[in-house]
Symmetry: C2
Subunit: 494 residues, 2 copies
């Protein structure tokens, strides 16, 4: 029998890869749009079943008004540490019209995007194939990787060296509004020496990656109000205030020509970029040119802005606009209201509440009266400038030292799993509520991504590249058999 875990994983994939894909596809066919509670319950039950099949004790925990979380544990004989595994099973909303294949069809395609049938036993599997589905990469891949690694080790008779504790969340794509309550409530059952956040993509160079931080998050929907109902633009245009134009003026005033956000105090709390950070940034593979080619644009938002440096400061991103109609839906009216949705990614040091207060102050300084609900008739007739701010639940960024024992163990695990160079990323651009694990559970946290970077995460045609799924199986096979005692011995920084 094979005793090298990475090799054991490879042998297992070779023989049973078709079964891994089939089982993963079944999971991806379960709709998992965030806030769709009935659908999420089906996902949670299926996860319980899958991990119980591998010998874990699993349970669904529920809090009022929140999607359920799945928790559980899988113990071993002589653990070197307890490793917590966080994955989220909800996905972003979908607009099926924008998808090439239905978002919950789990369509398997060639690298050129041509659908192919799922393989049967013995059929070859091209690692450049992809499975298309909401959740394929964000964030159901770790489930498939972990269960397959457990199967591979069992098949090869290799013993695990770590105890596992699981936390699978169902509200991450809604900003994790209940995660703090769940962690607080369940803390005694979530004790671990380290938590691994299994989310996000590997490096854009396709090299494996460990990330030592994530950005925080906050955001808002902001609606501007014009006439109570749409009015005829010929009769009333340029006399009745136009909320779509006010929205444009507001947004345009939020940044200067250098791309710097002009909201007062926006960068005040951001941790300075250290020399260590700069060295790490400089060591990153240079992917800007290939990213531009791949994503399809000719130059960055602001000339000379460096991609990796931007992740170290808070961002201000317009994620949507809506007012009356455009194209064939356009009507000759002054719109009655206009809404923009903005997300702000927080860097280390930034506080979401403070950030939203600055946004609020910025709006009010421009003479807007802010209402908490749709304005009533009196509001409209009293305040010339009227807007509604709906903040999105947010959280702080978090980072751990890049030279800690945890960092060293994980870089080594990835390196052994991939036989190659591993990228050490000071922080992810994406947001995960990692700070809560530090605050509530008192454990260090790192991020261990599996998905390909070009996975269309959050957008139409989300997909996972089979080679990345295979990397995930190998990664977990190695990790589950690695000596984590150095992490247990260093409880402060991990």
């Amino acid at each position: 029998m094979e005793s090298d875990p990475r090799q054991a994983a490879a042998v297992y994939r070779q023989a049973q890869g078709w079964k891994i894909l089939a089982e993963f596809a079944d999971l991806l066919r379960l709709p998992n749009v965030t806030r769709q509670t009935d659908d999420l319950e089906v996902n949670a039950a299926e996860l319980v079943r899958r991990f119980e099949d591998r010998g874990a004790s699993m349970e669904i925990a529920r809090l009022d008004g929140a999607a359920p979380v799945v928790i559980g544990e899988l113990r071993t004989e002589a653990p070197t540490a307890v490793v917590g595994v966080y994955v989220h099973y909800d996905g972003q909303p979908v607009d099926p019209d924008e998808w090439t294949f239905p978002p919950f069809s789990a369509t398997l395609t060639t690298s050129a995007g041509q659908p192919v049938p799922y393989p049967g036993a013995g059929d070859p599997i091209d690692p450049e194939w992809r499975i298309h589905a909401r959740g394929a990469s964000d964030d159901k891949t770790p489930f498939a990787a972990l269960t397959s690694a457990l199967d591979a080790l069992a098949e090869a008779g290799i013993a695990r060296t770590v105890d596992l504790v699981f936390l699978f969340e169902g509200e991450e794509e809604s900003g994790s509004p209940s995660l703090d309550r769940y962690l607080t409530e369940l803390a005694p059952r979530l004790r671990a020496d380290v938590w691994l956040l299994c989310d996000g993509p590997v490096h854009q160079s396709r090299a494996p990656q460990v990330a030592f931080g994530v950005r925080g998050y906050c955001g808002f929907d902001l609606t501007f109000y014009g006439p109570e109902h749409e009015v005829h633009s010929g009769h009333y245009g340029n006399w009745v205030p136009n909320p779509a134009f006010e929205l444009a003026v507001f947004l345009a005033g939020c940044k200067d020509e250098s791309g710097r956000v002009t909201i007062e105090g926006f960068y005040d709390d951001t941790a300075p970029i250290t020399d260590e950070d700069r060295r790490a940034i400089e060591a990153l593979p240079d992917v800007e040119a290939s990213l531009m080619e791949e994503i399809g644009f000719a130059g960055p938002e602001v000339e000379g802005a460096g991609y990796a440096e931007l992740l170290m400061i808070p961002s201000f991103n317009v994620r949507g606009l809506r007012a009356a109609g455009v194209g064939v839906e356009a009507r000759n009216v002054v719109p009655s209201h206009a809404t923009t949705s903005v997300d702000i990614r927080l860097a280390a040091g930034d506080d979401p509440e403070a950030m939203l207060s600055r946004v609020r102050a910025h709006i009010e300084k421009q003479g807007y009266h802010l209402v908490d609900d749709d304005p009533g008739p009196v509001d409209r007739r009293t305040h010339r400038r009227l807007a509604r701010l709906v903040p999105t639940a947010g959280y702080r960024a978090a980072r751990i030292p890049m030279d800690s024992p945890l960092a060293r163990v994980l870089l080594d695990v990835c390196s052994r799993a991939s036989h190659g160079d591993v990228v050490a990323l000071p922080t992810f651009g994406g947001s995960i509520p990692l700070y809560l694990f530090e605050d509530i559970l008192g454990a260090p946290v790192a991020i261990l991504p599996i998905a390909n970077h070009d996975n269309n995460q959050h957008a139409a045609d989300e997909n996972i590249r089979i080679a990345n799924l295979w990397y995930g199986v190998d990664l977990w096979s190695v990790l589950l058999t690695t000596d984590f005692s150095s992490v247990r011995d260093d409880p402060v920084s991990g």
Copy 2:
């Protein structure tokens, strides 16, 4: 028998008002959204039937790629002039979700908005009731007013004093792209001493109104491009260009704080406001305060801007915005594209082509490469600033002298029809392709509105107030029996 036409109309309305409403409701139940050719054909056929029933010779004329027009004539024994009657039978698009009652249900309501059954013979009819439907006021009311006036005069045995020539258009709400071709083609059959454009609302004070001009129109949809597909805002926000933000910056830069459009040359061709215009404007009833109360806003777009003066200069109105999602549809992405729809109302002197050229130059001056179609992969990777301009077919404004014989006759007709003061409006804020009648048919044109101003024209819950429909019946009964020979004798200015 009654020999006073206004009185004859009143008698007829009193006895047959229920039938007028029932017949009008049947017309309003025919969906008439512009560009929906099959639906428009049904409307055209129905109009032929209705006017043939009143003794007119009618015909449907068609040109390739255009909605049909309905033309016809109704002659009399000793005409004092030939009066051309223009009405359009298409309506603006509808978003049924925004309507209180379905847009083609022709729901009759009290002034408080409560549905009431249609009256039967002898039932009382409250003139403050309204019929709700797309097209109820813009622009099917003249059909009901005209056929009912013909019926009223026939019933009273009163002879008409004018010959009528009809032109009913089906593309007005799409910007009348084929009207010039139709007028040119059909000119020999559309000879008239004067054309009356029957569209638009009466004055906001509810006084009857004659308008001596209309504004012209042009517009555009402008789409800004970011990444080829939406990308994750955490990983790529503020590095990958955001088209929604670019759109905001562009729009905000189109006007200064005084509301003046900053597009170079925007006001260059606009006819100066004359002393005569100023006198007419000053004589208008002051309705600003009551309009603000009614429309529901606290102050004009720009402090101190006078409503009537604004109609004398070109406007720039944002009629819609669209990029990715907002609210529950919001996704954490950099949108791939963002579109705004803008309409520009042209004042006397302005040329639509010249105006669109200025817009184009304004965009290009900001470094945008303009494409005519969705950009291809090479465009995206070559041009950092990329946008697509889709111009909307437009036309010039038009006005006639306010002291011409035609003006005097029409003010007198309205005054006799309403027993009251009539508002003489130098120009409407709305747009109608009136200039074509002058250019191609060589006839003076004036606008004779019927609908209430608070009709939600172009928006949800469009409606007609019954009192305004009754005014229309009276107006046409008087007009059809008026001596128009002074107009025929003054072929230059009408």
